[in-house]
């Protein structure tokens, strides 16, 4: 069920790997040196060998244009734009993380911005995904992007006055007192909850528009002709059964047809990135559970891998296989929930009950291992919280043996169902080039025909040793996304079976007690272990100075963890490139011109989780 027709199968994208060679010998770095010479301020390598090129901020657009458009470079996927504030008045750094599908290469372009000139040219003409990414950087850091079509706050409320939260001079609890924050929150009025364009659509002229209007235009001109009739402006959410969380869509409707859709997010903004700067490296792990709460161990594992790459340590073979098993179990967990809620949104309520029953069985495995169903916090830097309990492996094996029966039943219910097909086929279509430009990753991208899976392109945790296929769709509509995810569950079952067969014995944590706590029996007995235990608990783990942008294939797409360490016990910057945040940016593209019923089908098919979108 991997290909629909007999067309040539799309090329599986394999990365060329970072060999640890000198970054100056990297093909893109030499090309940049040749074309831009002195604009390149610095060339370095990050903790996993990706070349980092620091450039003159005034030439950022030209350099990125070259990197995207030049045939030999072809960096068509903009994976992330993030900013780093090192504090103490130092310049802010803006990272552009790039990936080339054609060459299988990663590159990072960094611009250093002095605090008095926090602005950059926008790159939205090059990549559509930069729209929301730049809005987020503006919202959290105050960096303006010249030429951005709609530069306004995205995660914080529109009229947020306390400042830019992720700056180092912004206190963790905000500038105002709690009672003042509560008072302001509840006093928010009409003008504060709608964007300018939406107010204009409804014919309401806000004071801001009046204040900013050119002197010779009358406010009354903003209203349309009353005889023409106005399209209906409808709020879908934030409290809505079918938006998969606190997502708000402001739809402009002409009857049932959508004229425009403006997503508003930030209703679940929890300040993860800021809070994690105040937590020790291992204390961040429980926070990673709560972002993608549908498949939490994937976040735990991605974060632990990122920190381990900064430390430069290799985890034990047993830990590597256990992490693969848990990753794939959580991928199934996330996909099963997606399946259940999508079917529920479209009316097939039985599937919800079936998939939740299967998820309960995975929760039993979570609980047997970690004690918690939904927020396992299972990894620690250098290993896991503990080894697998006795009988767990049999439980996992039993699960993967019986899951295909339920999958077959859901398959019988949905795949050839006339209603399912007519609601999902040819709805929410996106082609491969648009998908890459919007930064889509994961099943969304693969359903559009691009065979990019981080497990195959940049294998981690030994994925190159497992045999599994990557399902790729063809039409890029909702039905293809459904088929791709369904097949991915089967492939995950395959990987788990192989992993269970090859699970080696041995320790689960590495032996280095400056990273991992020694076993309690030793800590109470031997003096070295006691000292190591004391240092780790009182001081915290110290991670050497460095930076990394580490990504894995999460259930929703490419999950990137951007870490900056200054050698201390807490991260200086802890960035989570959430796949759903980027995937959601494509929603207006998918549904403008469609009917209201298709909004829900398209929204469900992108598989979003608001916890990681809003962070």
């Amino acid at each position: 069920m991997t290909q629909a027709t007999a067309k040539a199968s799309p090329r599986l994208i394999i990365g060329e790997g970072t060999s640890g060679a000198d970054p100056e010998s990297h093909a893109s770095v030499t090309a940049l040196r040749a074309s831009f010479g002195e604009a390149l301020k610095e060339v370095a390598s990050d903790a996993i060998g990706v070349p980092v090129v620091t450039v003159d901020p005034s030439l950022v657009f030209q350099i990125l244009h070259f990197l995207k458009m030049e045939a030999s470079q072809a960096y068509d996927l903009l994976a992330d734009i993030m900013a780093v504030d090192l504090g103490a008045g130092r310049p802010l750094r803006v990272w552009y993380q790039l990936w080339s599908m054609k060459n299988g290469r990663q590159l990072r372009v960094v611009a250093k911005l002095p605090l008095e000139r926090l602005e950059l040219p926008t790159v939205t003409p090059l990549w559509d995904t930069a729209n929301w990414l730049e809005r987020e950087v503006y919202d959290l850091f105050g960096i303006t992007f010249r030429g951005h079509p709609d530069l306004r706050r995205i995660l914080m409320p529109e009229n947020y006055e306390e400042g830019f939260p992720l700056r180092k001079d912004f206190p963790l609890r905000g500038r105002f007192s709690r009672s003042e924050q509560t008072r302001r929150a509840l006093a928010r009025g009409l003008v504060d909850t709608y964007a300018e364009e939406e107010l204009r659509m409804a014919g309401i002229v806000s004071e801001v528009a009046v204040r900013d209007a050119p002197p010779d235009s009358l406010p009354g001109e903003v209203r349309g002709d009353p005889l023409e009739g106005q399209p209906l402006l409808l709020n879908l959410g934030p409290q809505h059964p079918a938006t998969h969380g606190v997502l708000r869509l402001v739809l402009q409707l002409d009857g049932e047809r959508i004229l425009s859709c403006v997503p508003h997010i930030g209703y679940l903004h929890t300040g993860f990135e800021k809070t994690c700067e105040y937590r020790e490296w291992n204390q961040v792990v429980p926070y990673t559970d709560r972002m993608d709460y549908l498949a939490p161990m994937l976040y735990n594992i991605a974060y632990a891998l990122a920190v381990e790459s900064l430390l430069g340590i290799e985890i034990t073979p047993r830990c590597r296989v256990v992490r693969v098993i848990l990753s794939e179990l959580n991928r199934i967990l996330g996909h099963l929930l997606w399946l259940g809620t999508t079917a529920m949104d479209l009316g097939a309520l039985t599937v919800f009950l079936y998939t939740f029953q299967e998820r309960e069985r995975i929760y039993n495995l979570h609980e047997a291992y970690t004690g918690a169903r939904l927020t396992p916090s299972t990894t620690r830097v250098g290993g896991m919280l503990a080894d697998l309990p006795p009988g767990w492996i049999d439980g996992a094996r039993n699960f993967v043996e019986t899951l295909p029966k339920t999958l077959a039943e859901v398959d019988r219910l949905l795949t050839r169902n006339a209603i399912w097909i007519s609601r999902q086929q040819d709805v929410g279509i996106i082609g491969p080039d648009d998908a890459i430009s919007f930064g889509l990753t994961g099943p969304n991208l693969r359903a559009s025909g691009v065979a990019y899976d981080v497990r195959k392109a940049r294998p981690y945790l030994g994925y190159e040793e497992y045999e599994f296929d990557v399902p790729v769709g063809e039409h890029g509509d909702c039905y293809d996304r459904f088929l791709v995810r369904f097949e991915e569950i089967r492939q995950s079952v395959r990987i788990i079976e192989q992993a269970l067969d090859r699970l080696p014995g041995g320790p689960i944590n590495i032996d280095d007690h400056s990273v991992v706590l020694p076993p309690k029996s030793e800590a109470m007995g031997s003096i070295d272990s006691m000292i190591a235990h004391f240092k780790l608990v009182m001081e915290g783990l110290r991670v050497p100075a460095g930076e990394v942008w580490y990504s894995i294939e999460a259930s929703k797409g490419e999950l990137g963890i951007g870490l900056v360490s200054d050698g201390g016990t807490k991260p200086v910057r802890c960035r989570f490139r959430a796949p759903s945040f980027i995937n959601l940016g494509v929603l207006p593209f998918l549904i403008e011109g469609e009917l209201v019923a298709d909004v829900l089908a398209a929204n469900a098919s992108i598989d979003i989780v608001l916890g990681e979108i809003d962070r």
Partner: protein, 118 residues
Amino acid sequence: MTDSYLGIVILGFLGILNAVLIIGLGQMIGAVRPTAVKSSPYESGMTPLGGTRERLSVNFYIVGILFIVFDIETIFLLPWAVVFRDLPLSGFVAMLVFLAVLGVGLAYAWKKGALEWD
């Protein structure tokens, strides 16, 4: 003859009694304390933007009318199906004529694109 109608009369009476009781009792002993916010329209917790007396698309009315017509047709089909075996051939032909008339209407609507939105 009165026997066959007695059932329907009792059903009708109980139905009306039920409705009167539910609405009447609710009005009499239920508390009604309207406040401005309780009477305000619910739109997922946001303040609604734009008026409510907008001009709606006429397609909604077309869909509604088509639904009513074919729903009533179904309602007529049901009692006919119950007594079908006891009817002579003319009963069958009468219903076929009825279906044909409505079928022509359906074909006309289909051809004119009334079943598509837009």
